[in-house]
Symmetry: C2
Subunit: 460 residues, 2 copies
């Protein structure tokens, strides 16, 4: 087996620059799944991937329809039924990005600078999903075989919480049957400390809109006796928080499983100091529930964040109106046993209860996602740990991720297999931010680690 | 004199439809003074007016530069030095308008429906300023003379609080020297109750921007320990109000001159009921300081309104970011002795005091305007009252306007002359709103009233 691994790694090194060029080609497709204006581009990305996988010699490579953006599927089952099968999951959709957000260069015209690729989707998740594709290519083009069977499942709706993937999986359970699922859509604090994420936060994402008058009003005519919808929204939003930054929605914390002393001790091994946090984010001071460390707040505690606000006039100069309406996007990161739909009901009730009779309110659920927790003593998790040691050069830490990949919990529940989250990104890659980027060296080292992981799985 | 008046009125009736066509031509110029994108259009409107006035035979018709949008000036001094001179003030700039705001038709492609012209600027103020132009034309084209001298001063920055008109007036005091100033930029409750506005609210208009991180952050990574700038803005804005809707900014009410019993009795003559207010605005319930009647709240009491809010993502679907910043446009309508610059300092201090160390804040002054109060027993005011009786068919009420025309106070202060605000619009014309409109019958009756007012001034 060693020779087979060695061959694959040498191939990956030899063809690394071409792999980067291919990734750049995919990054140029603006697959902004959330925005209907980019629906055709999102589909084009799916087709690009299916064609790419077919060209590498994978079987059954195809674009499969869902009620939303399609799923890309392909498989290599040449290792035979006696070998394990690994299901690789990734997503080709990206969050919105425009120059106005503060990008230094076109988010969909990637540029390489200082050994990093700058562009939307570089680290989340096109760069990371491509690692597995290139690892498999490296085996197939050298030995004509991989140590285990590989199935690849790539979706186009991860950034909107995968609303159509669960029904798709339920219909295709046999097709994607596997022994373990591996996902690379997470990150590490520093290169020397790779991370296997064994816990993810869930999500409830809502949109709130307050309406007062039937249209914008002249603030001179009607100001003083009209409850300004922007003010009403401010009052409603304020009521959802306590002064100490905790969440005031009744019942919100009821189902949070308290952190044990052992868990807190493990999290304390990878501390996040005020200085590190301020340097990474640029905030003038750290905020949040003082009863928990910064690391705990961003990974093991639930949140309620305002993701967007809009009302009235935001152009240049003054405009003296009372806006007809005011809206907000709000999302909650969930942990432990918090149920996303129950949290939606609690939020909706709290918002409606806080709404005065002078305005009307509409609370809409946009997406939900379950939180996930995978035991880290499973053999497939320990195999991942050894793969990092051999392929990456450093032993990993097991960490809790603050983000949400709702499909992780769904995959584990529906397929009854371990889901191993081997991140190949850096916390500071700026995912979801302007100037998202990905280090080429991590992309290349990731491919080698992914090659080794297939070997480790074969040895189990 | 009666024959001269009669001739002018007959001419106005005969040419009324052409007057409307000319007004439509001007309404098609999108003179959105506040938006730099419309600077060329705004200038084009000034040139259109200067050409129009020159073509009517007025002297010295010209576009005069200021540091911002130009002033249009023209005069007819043929009544001679023994006659009074009236200065007509109006403004050709309009507030922003786009179809997305909820217009049923293009705001700058006016349409006539049910006897009303729909379009931005129809009532505020192109339709109303044009009344005086057409009244003067009706005299000049019939008698070759008007009963008094007329100077016309039209500006392009009223909607941004006339920042450059005061210096212009100071430089051109001799040019615009007059005995009385008349302005038609206000409205009445119903046609049968025309209104002379003898008081206007002042204004302090600010923009507030809160910044937290250096760019948008992934809410999963950093949420829980980052003070969300949108939440910080919500907290700051909430702190500016008391729970009863009054303003919590320290010192805000200090210089408000209390309403006397006599003033309250006069305002009580033109009540505004809950039902009327709800019907006119569409709000589900009336709001505000319960110590004052609705009419008092919207005209004789100061306000603090949020005119715009923005932060993060407001497109379709979810985007899980902590926004880099959040902003608001906020304006205060001022009364009595409230000084706009002092109010700005109070607001700035209150906002800065309410800003926690977890974010930074920037408070910018956009515009200010003084409140105005003109005694209604002046002869020029009483002449206006008679003009309505003769030309409009109904005796007017003297009312307090809730809006702000800062230049009214400046004109009165700088020129030491009475400023008579003869409104020819309806409260429900939707100025500053989508589907702003103006009744053609009021436009035509306004011209007749303006003709009569020149006669009444000559008789003083």
């Amino acid at each position: 087996m060693t020779e087979m691994i060695q061959g694959a790694i040498e191939y990956a090194r030899e063809h690394g620059d071409r792999f980067v060029d291919e990734l750049l080609e995919m990054l140029r497709i603006p697959s902004v799944g959330a925005d209907p204006a980019y629906a055709a581009d999102t589909r084009r990305n799916a087709e690009w991937l299916a064609n790419h996988l077919a060209a590498l010699g994978l079987d059954n490579a195809c674009v499969m329809e869902t009620a939303g953006h399609p799923v890309v599927y392909a498989e290599w089952m040449g290792a035979g039924p006696d070998r394990r099968t690994v299901l690789v999951y990734g997503h080709y959709d990206v969050v919105p990005a425009t120059m106005e957000d503060g990008w230094d260069s076109d988010p969909f015209e990637p540029v390489i600078k200082d050994g990093k690729i700058f562009g939307r989707g570089t680290t989340d998740d096109k760069g990371q999903l491509f690692i597995h594709v290139k690892a498999l290519e490296s085996f197939l083009k050298t030995s004509g075989a991989a140590p285990v069977n590989v199935k690849i499942l790539l979706e186009g709706e991860e950034e909107v919480s995968s609303p159509n993937l669960v029904p798709w999986i339920q219909e295709h359970k046999d097709l994607i049957k596997a022994d373990v699922c591996v996902i690379s859509d997470s990150s590490m604090r520093v290169v020397e400390e790779p991370a296997i994420t064994h816990s993810l936060r869930g999500m409830t994402y809502i949109e709130v809109e307050v309406q007062g008058p039937r249209e914008d009003l002249h603030s001179g005519f009607w100001g003083g006796a009209t409850h300004n919808p922007a003010l009403a929204l401010v009052e409603i939003l304020k009521s959802l928080y306590n002064d100490d930054g905790t969440i005031a929605v009744p019942g919100f914390y009821d189902d949070v499983v308290p952190l044990t002393g052992a868990e807190r001790a493990m999290l304390a091994k990878i501390p996040l100091t005020d200085e590190q946090f301020m340097a990474a984010t640029g905030v003038p001071a750290v905020w949040g529930d003082a009863n928990y460390t910064i690391r705990e707040r961003v990974s093991a505690r639930p949140t309620l964040d305002i993701n967007g606000l809009w009302s009235g006039y935001s152009g240049p100069g003054p405009k003296t109106i009372i806006p007809v309406r005011a809206g907000a996007k709000i999302s909650s990161r969930l942990v432990g046993n918090q149920d996303p739909n129950k949290i939606f009901e609690l939020l909706k009730k709290a918002i409606e209860d806080a709404t005065p009779p002078t305005v009307t309110v509409d609370v809409r659920l946009l997406t939900t996602g379950k939180a996930a927790l995978i035991p880290f003593d499973l053999p497939e998790m320990q195999a991942a740990s050894r793969a990092y040691e051999r392929g990456w050069g450093y032993a990993p830490v097991f960490t809790r991720g603050g983000g949400s990949i709702p499909i992780v919990a769904e995959l584990a529940d529906l397929l009854k297999i371990p889901v191993v989250m081997m991140g190949y990104g850096l916390d500071t890659d700026g995912l979801h931010s302007p100037n998202e980027h990905y280090r080429i060296s991590m992309f290349k080292q990731g491919i080698e680690t992914a090659i080794v992981y297939l070997d480790e799985l074969a040895e189990l």
